[in-house]
């Protein structure tokens, strides 16, 4: 009798301390890429955590009036950004001040946002959730709403063994989904891997060659960003003054510097620049090829001498940049809205 009771106690204790059984989720990326910066040990991926994050990402429940989700500004079919307007829109039609960044290959990011103010993917989502011009909520209010949902209590338990949503698990769940947004199957990737089906036209090959000569100091392969901040000589907008990286570091040399974004999926993630001033990719190329750049003290020295491209070269670069679109990534079912 005693041994049966002891056995039952051990079984119960086992359930108590082992938590839910989760299915580990692999994080795949090409062997030739550098190692990710994201610390997976602090947030081991599992299918349940990914599904929780996916559900949260597409659910307006996180916003103040339950009208806006992460996906409202980060739409999968446009490379997880918004292409309808220059800067982000929030609850009650509020307008932000910067262009929505595309979510791609975030596991390699050393910082987040246009000014690099956030240093950890796990903490990134606090900003859009609590910003008055974005989701207009706060962590306590969002957690309260989630804790009232039997569906979310179940999802949180399955992922983290605790049915009560808390800050850590909310943010780790979201990060499990967003860190999984890896785009590595563009035609460029297949071409580089020697896939015979991934044919590059002469124009695209020439575009790649010009790109490598002129653009890779800031946009190096294979991730197409050096994760730094640069002043690219954009004319200052007196109606939307923004000193960029300086707002975080307060260093004079950082004034008007903004994130160097990855160029993966760049053809579908218009508009461009921190304030979305350019609707077309060719406008961006023209900007770099123009001599009308506004010269301020912090302008990137690489660009002090403007890049001179003729019209043919501009078209070739454009053709190459289109090869960076990963349609498999954009259409991946696992990254779409979960069917309830």
């Amino acid at each position: 009798m005693v041994s049966i009771l002891l056995g039952l106690m051990l079984i119960l204790l086992g359930f108590r301390f082992s938590g839910p059984r989760t299915i580990p989720r692999q994080f795949f990326y090409p062997k030739s890429w550098p190692k990710p910066v994201y610390d997976f040990k602090k947030n081991p991926l599992n299918e349940e955590g990914f599904e929780l994050g996916r559900s949260l990402f597409y659910d307006p429940i996180l916003s103040g009036d339950s009208s806006i989700s992460c996906a409202s500004c980060h739409l999968s079919f446009t490379g997880f950004t918004h292409v309808d307007h220059a800067v982000s829109h929030g609850i009650e039609g509020r307008i932000g001040r910067r262009n929505t960044l595309a979510l791609v290959n975030l596991a390699w990011n050393t910082s987040f946002h246009w000014d690099g103010g956030v240093l950890n993917l796990d903490q990134q989502a606090i900003n859009p959730i609590s910003h008055p011009d974005e989701m207009g909520s706060n962590l306590n209010a969002s957690l309260k709403k989630l804790s009232k949902s039997a569906r979310y209590r179940n999802l949180f338990f399955k992922a983290f063994g605790d049915s009560v949503p808390n800050t850590t698990n909310l943010l780790k769940g979201l990060a499990q989904f967003t860190v999984s947004l890896v785009a590595s199957n563009s035609r460029y990737d297949l071409f580089m891997a020697g896939d015979t089906a991934a044919h590059f036209t002469d124009q695209e090959k020439n575009g790649l060659s010009i790109f490598r000569k002129n653009c890779t100091s800031c946009h190096p392969e294979p991730l197409f960003t050096n994760y730094s901040f640069a002043n690219t000589g954009l004319n200052l907008d007196s109606l939307n003054p923004d000193s960029g990286r300086f707002e975080i570091t307060r260093k004079p040399e950082d004034i008007f510097k903004f994130r160097v974004p990855s160029l993966r999926n760049v053809a579908v993630t218009f508009p461009y620049m921190h304030d979305g001033r350019f609707r077309k990719l060719r406008e961006v190329i023209n900007h770099y090829a123009t001599k009308n750049c506004q010269i301020t003290n912090s302008k990137d020295p690489v660009q002090q001498d403007e890049l001179i491209f003729d019209d043919h070269q501009k078209k070739d670069i454009l053709a190459f940049l289109h090869t960076l679109t990963d349609t498999k990534f954009i259409r991946e079912n696992k990254f779409q809205h979960p069917i309830k």
Binding site: G117, D122, Q123, S130
Partner: protein, 227 residues
């Protein structure tokens, strides 16, 4: 069986009575802070009242009268005081303390570690969402000298990037005896208002030179004795 129950009960009582706490008592010069009352005057002849105070202390080293030392690196305590809340006690593992050292604020490693548990939960409202990091000290109140809305002043001080890191090591030799397991030290916020005129500065909400300077004025206000 009954004997064991009684033993556990007695041990519980003994544990409660052995609980030792360091109390951080906010004061303004020689006066205990009375939240919301307009009666404090700085060396700049400015009168003010206070509505709330929140501050982070971390990385504790406790030393008792026998010289025994216990280090608690990584421990973080968020202390709060105001008309609606009072949470200014820190439990420690020793008896009567001779000396305590702690960090006023959080070190840069903690700020960027991604830890969001316990007192580091960003939902507690001490986290800057737009700029990774925690507010080291939040002090708010009102003064006729302040040019803020309805005379409000707000100091949200913090920042960990060089050269504007606001965290500081503080060590205090305790002279007050432990009474019922509680030993007091003082946090004299007059130290800042004697240096800063509310007429000129009523709001600091971002990291930078001002935040660094003001936090050091505040950091000099930790004392083991009332003046």
């Amino acid at each position: 069986m009954r004997f064991f129950n009684i033993l556990i009960f007695l041990l519980g009582i003994a544990r409660i009575s052995l609980a030792q706490e360091l109390r951080i008592r906010p004061v303004f010069g020689p006066d205990t802070l009375d939240w919301g009352k307009d009666k404090y005057t700085s060396a700049k002849a400015e009168t003010m009242s206070f509505s709330s105070l929140e501050l982070y202390l971390s990385d504790f080293t406790w030393t008792d009268s026998s010289g025994k030392e216990v280090k608690e690196p990584g421990r973080v305590e968020l202390l709060e005081a105001g008309s609606e809340k009072q949470n200014l006690s820190i439990a420690h593992p020793l008896g009567s303390l001779k000396r305590v050292c702690f960090r006023f604020g959080l070190d840069s490693a903690t700020q960027v570690s991604g830890r969001m548990d316990g007192d580091l939960d960003p939902a507690l409202g001490m986290y800057w969402a737009w700029n990774t990091g925690y507010i080291q000290c939040r002090l708010e109140g009102n003064s006729v000298s302040s040019k803020g809305k309805k005379g409000k002043f707000e100091f949200h001080l913090g920042g960990y990037s060089s050269p504007w890191a606001t965290d500081q090591k503080v060590c205090l030799d305790l002279t007050n005896p432990s009474i019922n397991g509680k030993q007091d030290v003082f946090f004299d916020i007059k130290a800042m208002f004697d240096q800063v005129s509310l007429k000129k500065t009523h709001s600091v909400l971002i990291p930078g030179e001002q935040a660094r300077q003001l936090s050091h004025f505040l950091g000099s206000g930790f004392k083991s004795q009332l003046q």
